[in-house]
């Protein structure tokens, strides 16, 4: 399952971050997820709640999700449009020569954490 795969990578990255920054506990994690990244948010939070128990630093970290709207760029008429509404074909000039500008990302934006010291 896609969501579980992503969750394991988030956890791995956060374990590294915790070590580098001498973090003892993470209270929350904010992810930015693109609208067309293929990640289903409800599953994702379920996977997170199950998985975080295996990582002491994350055990009670809340997962917060921010959605990034997907935008496509048309090479022919150089306009930008909403990907989810119109798909691959440009609504302005009907060109197929279009590219996803954003909306496919999955990044860890920030965490709230307690550190030693």
């Amino acid at each position: 399952m896609h969501e579980l795969g992503i969750v394991t990578h988030v956890a791995k990255t956060l374990d590294e971050v915790a070590e580098e920054n001498k973090i003892t506990r993470i209270g929350s994690v904010t992810l930015q997820i693109g609208e067309v990244s293929g990640i289903i948010n409800d599953y994702f939070v379920d996977c997170w709640d199950y998985f975080k128990k295996k990582h002491p630093v994350l055990a009670d970290a809340e997962m917060k999700i921010e959605i990034i709207p997907a935008v496509t760029y048309c090479e022919d008429c150089r306009s930008e449009y909403e990907t989810v509404k119109y798909g691959k074909i440009c609504p302005h000039c009907h060109s197929e020569r279009t590219w996803l500008l954003r909306g496919n990302e999955c990044t860890i934006k920030e965490i709230e954490a307690e550190t030693q010291e």
Binding site: G5, T13, E96, L100, K109, E110, A113, T115
Partner: protein, 220 residues
Amino acid sequence: MKVIELHKSVTDSNDRDADRLRAEMKEAGVLLINIMSSPGSGKTTLLSSTIKGMPETRIAVLEADIDSAVDAEKIESLGAKAVQVHTDGMCHMDAGMTRAGLEGMGFEDVDLAVLENVGNLICPAEFDTGAGKNVMILSITEGDDKPLKYPLMFETSDALVISKIDALPYFNFDMEKCMERARRLNPDIQIFPLSAKTGEGMDAWISWLHEEINRWRENS
């Protein structure tokens, strides 16, 4: 509690791990190829024909796809080395799992290592396995519009195998259109239309593999 801004991609730690593995494989002079496709596109069949077509090359296969126990047996019966890797229900292989599989199998006496990735066109494209070359298989039964649906897979692949061309007369597959769509996403992609069943097109694919194996060794 304090807020720490990270702005890290979730694939960040895997990307670094993959780069390390690639460097180690370069050092060892072993080319690792990552094969990705939808389930049933013909990965195992292509591998079997490839092993038969490269008798002088020592090939080892990491089987990560479902049915991999059967697939691994099939590959071993052809005289190649094969191990089954456990993905624990994961949708893709990452660099750590690939490394574990390679180390478990041992690759000192190998010229070409092949990873049969999990049958899925989304996740494997996002997770670098550490392979030297990425190959995607698209069977003609899946349709010529696949590049429109899974652009990232086409962008990250060095080669595209268009498989099962023996079945072209029975399917509405526009070869020219498919190639054009793939090249629009990735102008450098090498395309090999072939049939692992009849052998048509296999020569070009096998020559490419030989060239890439040599190139990998040359500057290692």
